[in-house]
């Protein structure tokens, strides 16, 4: 059996599989579909300072190769999370990464401070990149200076590892990656959803109430992979790959381009049990290829020499 253990920013994980925020519940609601120990880490749905009822219906729409959503970060807020969710997770042997979201730099800092003393929360993932709030303007993930300032404030408020979840809706994601590294991030999650939309030409109506929303699923994998690769080249902190991963081979592609772990998201809607089997499937596949440890794949992309000479190649 191949060794599946990985270390990401000091977190010792049984395997590199994590749930993607917002696609596998808030706590351990899904434990009957996937045993808590079967995932390297459970990433919560975004927690905000105040409760958010979310966006009006319709909030979801399907596309040819994926899924559009405009949930709008519906959640019951940090008070409820600390009271109703975390104590339950503390009883299980699960690594928990709490994803936090805010409308201001102060919101992020306050959330980080409140979670800092919580033993059941092992790390924070900072949602800089939800496209479904503030009209899709993505203020924290499109400006390197803003991204750096949010992460710096979170860094100052917590001793826990801090991951910055970046948006693919930027022209140079490497620049944002360097900014969050400078701000003190311990790692990067690449990437959140792409902005997308669907319309019914017969009724002239958009499929989502918010018109545009976040596009996820298998259709975004090539874009997410390119973003993860760009981040891994740009920084020395670990990168967690996310976007369109639906099977063991998808996960390995992200490891090869430099990711230390992967997040499994929209594919849980197709089969909510799959994420719990993914690490075992990855291990089997490694065995078949005679690879002793999953870490042997990380950052092993054999880039053609021509790349270094190509003008305008992503840095």
């Amino acid at each position: 059996m191949a060794n599946m253990a990985v270390t990401v920013a000091g977190l010792e994980l049984a395997n590199p599989v994590m749930s993607a925020s917002g696609t596998y519940g808030h706590g351990l609601e899904m434990r009957h579909f996937a045993a808590p120990a079967s995932l390297g880490a459970w990433v919560s749905k975004t927690v905000t300072r105040k409760p958010r009822p979310g966006n009006p219906l319709p909030r979801i729409a399907e596309t040819e190769a994926g899924f559009l959503n405009s949930i709008g970060l519906e959640n019951r807020g940090i008070d409820s999370y600390l009271r109703d969710v975390l104590p339950d997770m503390a009883r299980e042997h699960a690594v928990v990464i709490t994803n936090i979201g805010g409308e201001s730099v102060d919101d992020f800092a306050e959330l980080a401070a409140r979670l800092d003393g919580e033993r059941a929360c092992h790390a924070l993932e900072v949602n800089l990149s939800c496209p479904n709030v503030q009209g899709g303007k993505l203020p924290f993930s499109t400006s390197p200076a803003m991204a750096e300032s949010v992460i710096a404030r979170v860094r100052a408020a917590t001793k826990k590892p801090v991951f910055a979840k970046l948006s693919p809706n930027v022209s140079d994601i490497g620049e944002i990656a360097r900014a969050v590294e400078a701000g003190g991030a311990d790692g990067i999650t690449a990437v959140n959803t792409l902005l997308g939309m669907r319309v019914d030409w017969k009724t002239r109506r958009p499929a989502l109430n918010t018109i545009q929303g976040g596009y996820s699923g298998i259709g975004i994998k090539p874009i997410a992979l390119r973003c993860a690769w760009s981040c891994a080249r740009a920084v020395s902190i670990p990168v967690i790959g996310c976007g369109g991963i639906a099977c063991a081979e998808d996960a390995f592609e992200f490891l090869v381009v430099g990711c230390r772990a992967v997040q499994f998201g929209t594919a849980s809607f197709t089969d909510p049990g799959k994420i719990g089997r993914l690490a075992a499937e990855m291990s089997q596949l490694l065995d078949q290829h005679g690879i002793a440890s999953v870490t042997d794949l990380i950052g092993t992309l054999r880039a053609p020499n021509v790349l270094a000479k190509t003008p305008g190649a992503p840095s």
């Binding site: 917002g22 609601e29 009822p53 979801i60 399907e62 519906e74 849980s268 809607f269 197709t270 909510p272």
Partner: protein, 280 residues
């Protein structure tokens, strides 16, 4: 936090038969690889044909009928997902996630009569409802045949799917069509009013309804106005069926038992809601 039911599983199911029904429907029979016995009426399953043509997201369907390990689903063919299911062949495997949701309350024989209102493919959660009501649910008094009325409405006769199967129970069955091609000419609520005014059905009754959104809004309004107990089985668009995507919120009544939060999750807190708890 609302969570998916503990008995829900994600597994493959073998297609046994696809039988045409009505103008645009099929009854899909499958045998899941994990036995799921005695599923409560109006619980549902997410179904998806795992081929490359099918949409990425499964679709929710009420369990229509159950024969031992075999599960049957009544499916109206509307888009790519339902088309792929309707075209599946015996022996093929489908992804099946469930049983999900809560199901109807115990349909007992002690209180007022149960009046079931179905609109089109909204008849799906009623076959098992009648079967289970006549057998007795949750250890409560079973319903006599005259204690259940099934009112089935649709645009035309060809959309009154499998109506003879309902007649086979021996309960009171009434039909309504918009074009008058079968039974009463009009909608199912106009039919109910007529049956009330003729004295065919008692005005004191308990309502169950499943059908298009506009019909359910009208039923909700009627139940409030007449102070009737009423449960609706909702057909809200769903992404996951297990409470993780937050795509199927139902507005709650602030003064009701779900009022602590403005939205209920249709998939894990429903799909059956009392009209005291939600506001469509």
């Amino acid at each position: 936090m609302p969570a998916p039911p503990k008995d829900a599983r994600s597994c493959l199911a073998e297609v046994l038969e696809v039988e045409r029904v009505g103008d645009d429907g099929v009854i899909l029979s499958v045998r899941p690889e994990i036995a799921m016995l005695d599923v409560r009426a109006s619980r549902f399953f997410m179904l998806r044909h795992e081929d490359a043509r099918s949409p990425a997201i499964p679709r929710p369907f009420s369990l229509y009928r159950q024969r031992g390990r075999e599960l049957e689903f009544l499916i109206k063919v509307m888009g790519r997902g339902t088309q792929a299911l309707a075209q599946s062949r015996p022996g093929e495997k489908l992804r099946l996630i469930g049983p999900l949701g809560n199901g109807w309350p115990a349909l007992d024989g002690d209180g007022p009569m149960w009046v079931m209102l179905a609109g089109g493919v909204g008849s799906a959660p009623f076959y098992l409802a009648i079967e289970q009501a006549l057998k007795g649910m949750d250890g409560k008094a079973r319903c006599g045949k005259d204690h259940v009325a099934f009112l089935f409405g649709a645009a035309r006769k060809g959309l009154l799917y499998d109506v003879d199967a309902f007649r086979g129970f021996g309960v009171k069955v009434f039909t309504a069509t918009d074009d008058g091609s079968d039974g009463f000419k009009g909608n199912v609520l106009q039919l109910l009013e007529t049956l009330w005014s003729r004295g065919t059905l008692p005005r004191e009754c308990r309502l169950l309804a499943c059908g298009p959104e506009r019909m359910l809004e009208a039923v909700e309004h009627l139940a409030q106005e007449k102070h009737l107990e009423c449960w609706l089985s909702l057909e809200t668009l769903m992404g996951c069926g297990v409470g993780i995507c937050n795509g199927c919120p139902v507005p709650t009544r602030p003064d009701g038992p779900l009022g602590a939060w403005p939205n209920a999750k249709c998939c894990v807190e429903g799909p059956v809601f009392s009209t005291r708890d939600i506001a469509l």
